[in-house]
């Protein structure tokens, strides 16, 4: 094997031989190498995270018709480092009555829950942490750890606003997990496996966004809710509960939350890419080599991240009950209907030629989407008639 | 679909109609009668197909259409049920299908379908008429319209089952279904006391016969191990049955079975002495009368005897009994019929007497003649009943017009001159009447009755012959009397003036049946009639082939021919003569109390049977046995037990049991309770703790017992 086509194993072999050459027992060597791999991945991600800060700020600036950071370095690209320095030298306050251990544990968990996700992301056919055969569930599991971190933070910081924020966030997370799982099962059905790698390989011929566009959309919505970003950013609704669960955090602890959120968003962009946009596939370009594949995947993830930002800076915040109602009464049933429909069509069209298969799935989704739009239109018409004379914008607010 | 399968399906439509109507279409009159008539039509269609196939099949008698399935597993074999259509079955099926269909159709009109709802009609009473928007009094629709159609559908089902069945069991099932339906239908207007009583009477009386019939069937099964005709009529089986003697009257097994089955017939076909229910059955609506007394139920009795003829004919004693009963019934009923004023009662008694003719014919061995008369009679009697119903209907119209509800629309002396009012009814009724009285050469009745007479004559049974001749004369006489009183002359009452013709649903059946009442006789013209050599009688050839040995056609005889000619024409003539200008009942010479009261048979029964039964039940059993004897003994026991009980109580129970054991235990328990109460602390954890301790203790104990010891 050479470096170009299988870098990870190449390096691993080299290191193993090196270490065993030093007289290290085989299993210890493997443990060490895996540790090195993990550390490498994590540190890479963190560095990438720093870059993300800059991206976010630039993009939001463009959305809001500003320039954004442009002083420090070319295009202000070194702005994040300045931020980090600021965060580090800030005073690290632990509020009185706070539960020290939990308080300090929470940000780490929050960061960890994001980093855990990267263990199963197949960056390239041969570059991935583990090929877990229950990857889809693993995502949810890691997400639940994120929930935990939020609760811990909110509770330990002994602050009402924080607690309220945590309650909201947990409510949102737990309810939006359901359509998320349901939509993650659709690529699972199509690929016949929960393993991320196999899902990606399943999109060799056609990306699942073509086969299941509705699923892609729902997954994106649920992901945004999971991330707690606008329009679902009730956990830190500045105007209502000052900053939500991390109100009491200062300095680098807050930085961890912040970075965690950004990386989380980017990660979900990556999952979106993996589940629906064909992962590292890009019309055979990935065959040039694993590193190319990695770049493709990161590009797609960045695209997903950009979509998330786009929504974030375009939409206004939604009221909590509307949000939950939207999930329970609309998103969840739709997700389940979609799931069943996809499973059905998949079994029906299994034997047919690829063209028919793709067309059938696509048409099914389009049809369903059209029906949904019609239903929504009728619903909103009804609402408007219910509040005759009141402007539609405020009509729902006064319900 | 093979013909056998088709036969299976013939009885189904009516029963389906029954359930449909009862369960679903009960509210909707039009739907109900459509369903019922449609079902009848389907059955009719099937029956016709079967019939045509039957007559076009050579020697059907040897190989009848038959199929059977296993039904009830008896120890090592199966009790089979199945269907079978042999020549005799075919002809019966033919007339049953026709009459049933006609009666169904007729019922639609008879129950005033399409008329307004009655002003004060209640379910369970005949409709009293309504006032239409012009203030006229018009007939009102039957309140329980759907119910009626449900019942007659069930009735039809019973009859079809009985006809197509190939064994005594299903025959008996259909038989009993009809018994039930006759009960339901005679008591259809259960608001009327008389109707209720009539229903109960019919049910009870026929029950007497049915019990014996069931015994007979049981006997057959125990003797032959099968109930299907084909098995029973195996020559060797018949031979054994004929030879095996029984303790009763020295009859052979066959004789005894035949007798028992025949008693069933007596009940069903209203032969003397069990004929009493039939006249009362006139309480039901007229279609029911036609159904019961012409088409189905009474025919069922005769059908059964004819069906079992090969078995019954084995024992001369039984045959004698049958012949005697038949003959006696014929003359006996005829004499009563002469004196009746109720138009339907007359027909009822004439039915009894005609059935007597058939039974008598069977008794003298004239198998074909009996069957022939059964069929023809079914047609013209149905025609007559429906005609009388039409008449009554017209009269009711008149009654409503005058509004005088005291006038009985069924009393012939209230009629007269209806010839002009209701021509169709008149002509058809005339045809039916002539057929009944055996108007020579033209009508069906003549041929069938003639055959019976010649059969009796050629058998040398002169008593039977003469009696039947007289009966025939009387038949013609009272028929003519009825016709004269009803239609001829001038109207005797206002009601009769204002009577008028009934709707087509009622007249159409009349016409159709009239055709049969005339035409059906011609298929049975004897071969050497008047000495000239015609084709052999088709009916005789066909039905006769049912039997193993084709019975010989009784030779033509001028005496017989002359007799039937004379009695028929004479009867008709005298009847017309006697009643052509009778206006009120008093001028009727024949209103003899003895005849009018039916020889006091009912009174006799009530005196000999019913009163004693009451007395036995009330006075003897209840007063003496029960109250006096049994209760006395019981009371004795009671007192004794009481005494012993009180002794035990006072000297043992109270001191020992109560004081010592009872209260003692109570105190102990109380004490325990008081001291154990704290355990019930209401704390889950404590409960768990205790249970765990106990568990561990037991575990330790087991360990000790099992391992250490």
């Amino acid at each position: 094997m050479n470096f170009w086509y299988d870098p990870v194993n190449f390096i691993a072999h080299w290191l193993t031989s090196l270490l065993t050459g030093w007289g290290v027992a085989g299993w210890i060597a493997s443990v060490i190498i895996q540790l090195i791999g993990v550390v490498l991945l994590i540190s890479l991600m963190m560095v990438f995270d720093i870059f993300l800060v800059w991206v976010e700020r630039k993009v939001v600036a463009r959305f809001q018709d500003r320039l954004g950071p442009n002083r420090v370095g070319p295009f202000g690209i070194f702005q994040p480092f300045a931020d980090i320095i600021k965060l580090i030298i800030k005073e690290d306050i632990t509020p009185a009555g706070a539960d020290k251990v939990v308080y300090n544990l929470a940000p780490i968990l929050s960061m960890m829950s994001v980093l855990l996700l990267w263990a199963i992301i197949p960056l390239a056919p041969v570059i991935f942490g583990v090929d877990l055969n229950v990857g889809a569930l693993y995502i949810v599991a890691a997400g639940s750890i994120g929930t935990l971190s939020i609760i811990m933070a909110a509770w330990s910081s002994n602050n009402k606003y924080a607690l309220i924020g945590a309650f909201r966030q947990v409510a949102v997370l737990i309810s939006f997990e359901i359509p998320m799982i349901a939509t993650m099962l659709i690529p699972t059905i199509l690929a016949g496996s929960m393993g991320m790698n196999e899902i990606v390989q399943g999109q060799q011929t056609v990306w699942y966004v073509v086969l299941a566009p509705m699923a892609a959309i729902i997954f994106m919505i649920a992901a945004i809710a999971e991330l707690g970003r606008s329009p679902f950013d009730l956990n830190e609704a500045e105007s209502e509960i000052v900053a939500g669960f991390h109100i009491e955090y200062t300095g680098m602890k807050f930085g961890l939350f912040f970075a965690g959120e950004l990386l989380h968003a980017f990660t979900f962009g990556g999952f979106w890419a993996i589940l629906f946009l064909g992962g590292y596939h890009f019309f055979g370009l990935e065959n040039l080599g694993p590193l190319v594949a990695v770049i493709i995947l990161l590009a797609k993830a960045m695209f997903g991240y950009w979509v998330i930002m786009w929504i974030k800076y375009t939409m206004m915040r939604i009221r909590i009950d509307h949000m939950l109602a939207f999930n329970w009464k609309f998103l969840t049933p739709l997700a389940f209907v979609l799931l069943m429909l996809t499973a059905l069509m998949n079994t029906l069209l299994r034997g047919t030629s690829t063209g028919v298969y793709i067309l059938g799935m696509l048409l099914t989704n389009v049809l369903l989407g059209w029906i949904i739009v019609e239903i929504l239109r009728g619903y909103s018409r009804g609402e408007r008639q219910k509040t005759e004379g009141v402007a539609p914008a405020t009509a729902t607010a006064h319900r | 679909m093979t013909i056998e399968t088709l036969i299976w399906f013939i009885p189904l439509p009516p029963i389906l109609a029954f359930f449909l109507i009862v369960l679903f279409t009960n509210r909707n009159k039009a739907l109900s009668h459509s369903v019922a008539v449609g079902a009848a039509l389907l059955s009719w269609l099937g029956a016709m197909i079967v019939f045509v196939r039957a007559i076009s099949t050579p020697d059907l008698g040897k190989t009848p259409f038959a199929s059977s399935i296993n039904w009830i597993p008896t120890a090592d074999t199966w009790l089979k049920i199945g269907v079978q259509i042999d020549p005799f079955g075919a002809v019966v099926l033919f007339f049953v299908a026709w009459t049933v269909l006609m009666i169904f159709l007729y019922s639609v009109g008879y129950h005033n379908y399409g008329q307004p709802k009655g002003d004060h009609d209640v379910a369970g009473l005949p409709p009293h008429g309504a006032t239409d928007e012009h203030g006229h009094h018009v007939l009102s629709v039957e309140p329980m319209y759907s119910r009626f159609f449900a019942f007659i559908s069930l009735f039809a089902f019973g009859m079809f089952t009985l006809v197509v069945s190939d064994n005594l069991l299903t025959l008996f099932a259909g038989w009993e279904i009809m018994g039930l339906c006759s009960y339901l239908l005679i008591g259809f207007w259960y608001g009327k006391e008389s109707a209720r009583n009539a229903a109960v009477k019919a049910f009870m009386t026929t029950r007497v016969g049915d019990v014996f019939m069931l015994l007979g069937i049981a006997f057959v099964y125990s003797a032959t191990g099968s109930l299907s005709y084909r098995d029973i009529f195996q020559p060797q089986v018949l031979h054994t049955l004929a030879t095996v003697p029984t303790p009763i009257f020295g009859l052979s097994a066959a004789g005894l079975i035949g007798l028992m089955l025949f008693i069933g017939t007596i009940g069903k076909s209203a032969q003397f002495p069990l004929h009493v229910w039939l006249p009362d059955a006139m309480e039901g609506p007229t279609p029911v009368s036609a159904m019961i007394h012409a088409a189905t139920m009474v025919s069922a009795g005769v059908y059964m005897v004819i069906r079992m003829f090969p078995l019954i004919s084995l024992d001369p004693k039984t045959m004698t009994v049958i012949a005697f009963i038949g003959t006696f019934t014929a003359i006996f009923a005829a004499t009563i019929a002469v004196a009746q004023n109720d138009i339907k009662k007359v027909l009822a008694y004439s039915t009894i007497s005609q059935l007597g003719f058939m039974i008598a014919a069977l008794g003298v061995g004239a198998y074909v003649a009996a069957a022939f008369h059964l069929v023809t009679h079914a047609f013209f009697k149905a025609l007559l009943f429906l005609g009388s119903g039409s008449v009554i209907h017209g009269m009711e119209h008149g009654v409503l017009h005058t509004g005088d509800h005291k006038v009985d629309p069924q009393d012939m002396f209230n009629m007269g001159g209806l010839r002009k009012k209701m021509p169709i009814t008149f002509w058809t009724f005339l045809i039916g009447g002539f057929a009944l009285s055996g108007f020579p050469l033209l009508t069906a009745g003549f041929w069938s009755k003639d055959e019976i007479l010649s059969g009796a004559f050629s058998n040398g049974n002169f008593v039977v012959f003469v009696t039947l001749a007289v009966a025939a004369f009387l038949t013609a006489f009272y028929t003519m009397r009825q016709i004269t009183l009803t239609f001829l002359g001038g109207p005797r009452t206002e009601e009769a003036k204002h009577a008028h013709e009934t709707p087509w649903t009622m007249t159409l059946p009349l016409i159709v049946l009239a055709v049969f009442a005339i035409g059906y006789g011609w298929v049975g013209i004897p071969q050497d009639f008047l000495g000239l050599h015609l084709n052999p009688s088709w009916f005789h050839e066909f039905v006769g082939s049912t039997l193993v040995v084709m019975p010989a056609e009784s030779p033509f005889n001028w005496i017989v021919f002359g007799t039937s000619l004379v009695v028929a024409l004479g009867g008709l003539f005298f009847g017309w003569l006697a009643y052509r200008n009778v206006t009120v009942a008093e001028q009727d010479k024949l209103q003899i109390p003895l005849l009018k009261n039916k020889y006091y048979i009912d009174e006799f029964y009530s005196f000999v049977l019913i009163k004693p039964a009451y007395w036995f039940a009330e006075t003897f059993v209840y007063q003496w046995m029960d109250k006096g004897l049994i209760d006395g003994i019981l009371h004795l026991f009671g007192k004794a037990a009481n005494g012993i009980g009180s002794i035990i109580r006072n000297y043992f129970d109270l001191p020992v049991i109560n004081r010592f054991f009872g209260d003692g235990t109570a105190h102990v328990t109380q004490w325990f309770g008081r001291n154990l109460r704290p355990i019930q602390s209401g704390r889950i954890q404590q409960y768990m703790l205790v249970s765990l301790i106990v568990l561990l203790a037991i575990a330790g104990l087991l360990y000790y017992l099992l391992v250490i010891v």
Binding site: G143, I145, L148, I151, W155, V170 | L696
Partner: protein, 175 residues
């Protein structure tokens, strides 16, 4: 003493220690958090036992839902954030004895069982346990019925919980 065994012992110690903390610590929130640690350890055990599906589900269900629910419950059922007074019943030493006896009894029963210290065959790498589990859960000749019953139970629990915890004074559900 292979690496696996060392790892196992560490996990086991974590599980038992955190379990002890769960039942002894004063602060209920901490107890719930310790419970999470225990559950995580159990998940790791599942992973060691090649039951990857169960491991992940353990995390999702227990940590993601049940533990969070516990924390909520604790937060909702307290007047102030600190717990005062002893958290154990007065007779807790008796309970210790009971628990120890139970443990001893279980151990004795186990060691008297001959299959006690048997070792597992190596897990065939090609064996798709998750797929097998899925088939077993939905195949009619296996466990589809218990599975359905369990789902019905979940539904019933959902409805029941909502009904019980629904506060009639707080207006209707939508608020």
């Amino acid at each position: 003493m292979t690496a696996m065994q060392i790892f196992f012992l560490i996990v086991g110690l974590v599980i038992l220690g955190s379990a002890l903390m769960v039942v002894t610590t004063h602060n209920l929130i901490h107890a719930a958090l310790w419970l999470i640690v225990t559950l995580f350890g159990v998940a790791v055990l599942y992973a060691i036992l090649n039951a990857s599906f169960l491991a992940v589900v353990q995390v999702v269900v227990y940590i993601g839902a049940i533990a969070i629910l516990f924390i909520f419950a604790v937060m909702l059922t307290r007047k102030e954030i600190r717990d005062h007074g002893p958290q154990l019943n007065s007779g807790w030493w008796l309970n210790v004895i009971i628990a120890l006896l139970t443990f001893g009894g279980l151990l004795w029963m186990l060691q008297s069982w001959n299959g006690f210290s048997k070792t597992a065959a190596d897990f065939p790498s090609s064996y798709d346990a998750v797929g097998q589990l899925g088939k077993a859960l939905i195949s009619p000749d296996a466990f589809v019925l218990p599975f359905e019953v369990a789902s019905v139970l979940l539904l019933a629990a959902l409805v029941g919980a909502v009904y019980i915890a629904f506060n009639p004074h707080s207006g209707d559900f939508r608020k």
